[in-house]
């Protein structure tokens, strides 16, 4: 209970800081819009092609724009020894990590909302048909990205070439999550009825989130060392 309370405190702090400057949100949002624009212009897909590639395009945009968000996640604590202060505080490493992941999650969801609206406009896709299921897929996929982003953001915060290291490490790890999210999003955007194998993708998403969140909590002390 205390961990949850502290995590929410950290998340609120990060979101407050971010809302003041909006640097990550602006960067991620602008990046996602530019990529969608470029794809629309470069490929000019017809409606059938959009059904095939839409899911993949969206999740690649989310993953790449997400890197801009979680790169800043721990890096913003470096000036004025804020990170050392946080680590020395009574907050448990698990609550700090979860709080950061929560903040990433909210920021990524905001960026995704903007992206899906722009995607709907550029590619003429009605994405509101299965908005409940789509929201669930987005939430599950984004949580996995946020959690791993927080973990590896913390691990690489003091490394030289951090901005280069983080994508090299994190994208292969995100592979099963991204594939599952892509397949489910593709299905929902194409308004196809789900087959039994499609529920396996949902299973993979849930397993990924649960396993990596549990692992991150268990290794939080190792990940965040003063």
């Amino acid at each position: 209970m205390k961990t949850v309370k502290h995590a929410l405190l950290i998340a609120r702090k990060d979101l407050a800081v971010e809302l003041r400057t909006k640097e990550s949100l602006n960067a991620a949002g602008a990046f996602s819009i530019v990529i969608l624009l470029l794809f629309s212009f470069a490929f000019d897909p017809d409606p059938e092609q959009v059904k095939e590639i839409g899911g993949g395009l969206l999740w690649l945009v989310f993953a790449f724009a997400g890197a801009l968000v979680f790169n800043r996640s721990f890096a913003r604590e470096l000036p004025n020894d804020c990170l050392d202060t946080l680590l020395a505080s009574p907050l448990s490493p698990a609550s700090l990590l979860t709080g950061k992941a929560l903040a990433n999650f909210v920021m990524l969801l905001a960026m995704e909302l903007v992206s899906i609206v722009i995607f709907g406009i550029f590619f003429n896709v009605n994405w509101t048909r299965h908005i409940g299921e789509l929201s669930l897929v987005f939430a599950l996929g984004t949580w996995g990205i946020s959690m791993l982003g927080a973990v590896f953001g913390a691990l690489t915060v003091n490394l030289r070439l951090r901005e280069l290291m983080l994508p090299i490490i994190i994208y292969p790890l995100l592979f099963p999550l991204l594939i599952a999210a892509i397949e489910l999003t593709k299905l929902l955007l194409a308004n196809q009825p789900p087959s039994p194998s499609d529920f396996l993708w949902a299973k993979i998403l849930i397993v990924f989130d649960v396993v990596f969140t549990a692992l991150a909590m268990m290794l939080a002390d190792t990940i965040l060392v003063n």
Binding site: P172, S197, F212
Partner: protein
């Protein structure tokens, strides 16, 4: 002592490989459907198995490092990951060459192939990250965390394969099918080659670990010289 063990293992591997090559080319006939190219399997699959076993042994040493804080465990983990990566690359390349003849394509985004590639990318990232960190304790801590996450990810990806139909041939080995699909003569040479590749990998790991120890000695001597100055 360790050097003698590495040489011994390498010699045993070489002897066994020589015998296996003789068996493969002089004794075993061509496979009915695939022809001569089936012989690639004797390197392709054992390389994959040795790679996978290596990653999970590295996982064990990574967990051991986190509990013991002994840098020897980290050195072992890093050495094993490096050697396993080499054999994983052998697996991908030989598989690709086999596929060119049997499937007519160099590559397909079949789940097993893709997951093998992802595995290589994860542990390549592990080695890249290690090179970016100079401080040994920090390097060991980060590497251990990444190895644990990487291995768990490999399991998730691997289990996902079993849930989906795919293009790659299904299991043929006894312990996967519960009763063989592979001819006993082929199976014998297969397992002997697996042992040979495992011995080779172990010898390479011993050599690599020795180099890690030398590297640590250089680090501590530099610190000593710096302090003395």
């Amino acid at each position: 002592m360790r050097d003698k063990l590495a040489i011994g293992l390498a010699a045993a591997a070489a002897g066994l490989l020589a015998n296996n090559l003789y068996q493969m080319f002089m004794v075993l006939p061509d496979e009915a459907l695939q022809g001569a190219i089936y012989r690639i399997l004797f390197f392709h699959a054992p390389a994959a198995m040795v790679g996978m076993i290596g990653y999970f042994v590295a996982l064990t040493f990574s967990v051991l490092y986190l509990t013991s804080k002994n840098l020897i465990h980290d050195s072992l983990a890093a050495s094993i990951v490096e050697v396993s990566l080499v054999f994983s690359v052998v697996n991908l390349v030989t598989g690709s060459i086999w596929a060119r003849i049997i499937w007519g394509i160099w590559w397909t985004w079949d789940y097993r192939l893709t997951s093998a590639l992802v595995c290589v990318l994860i542990f390549f990232g592990y080695l890249v990250m290690r090179r970016a960190i100079d401080e040994p304790t920090q390097r060991a801590r980060l590497s251990s965390a990444l190895c644990i996450f990487g291995c768990v990810d490999v399991v998730i990806v691997w289990k996902s394969i079993e849930w989906f139909r795919n293009q790659h041939p299904g299991p043929v080995l006894d312990f996967r099918t519960g009763g063989g699909k592979m001819d006993p003569a082929y199976a014998h040479v297969f397992w002997m080659n697996f042992v040979a590749i495992l011995l080779m990998a172990t010898a390479l790991v011993l050599v690599r670990t020795r180099q890690e120890a030398t590297s640590r000695e250089i680090d501590s001597l530099r610190r000593l010289a710096h302090t003395a100055a």
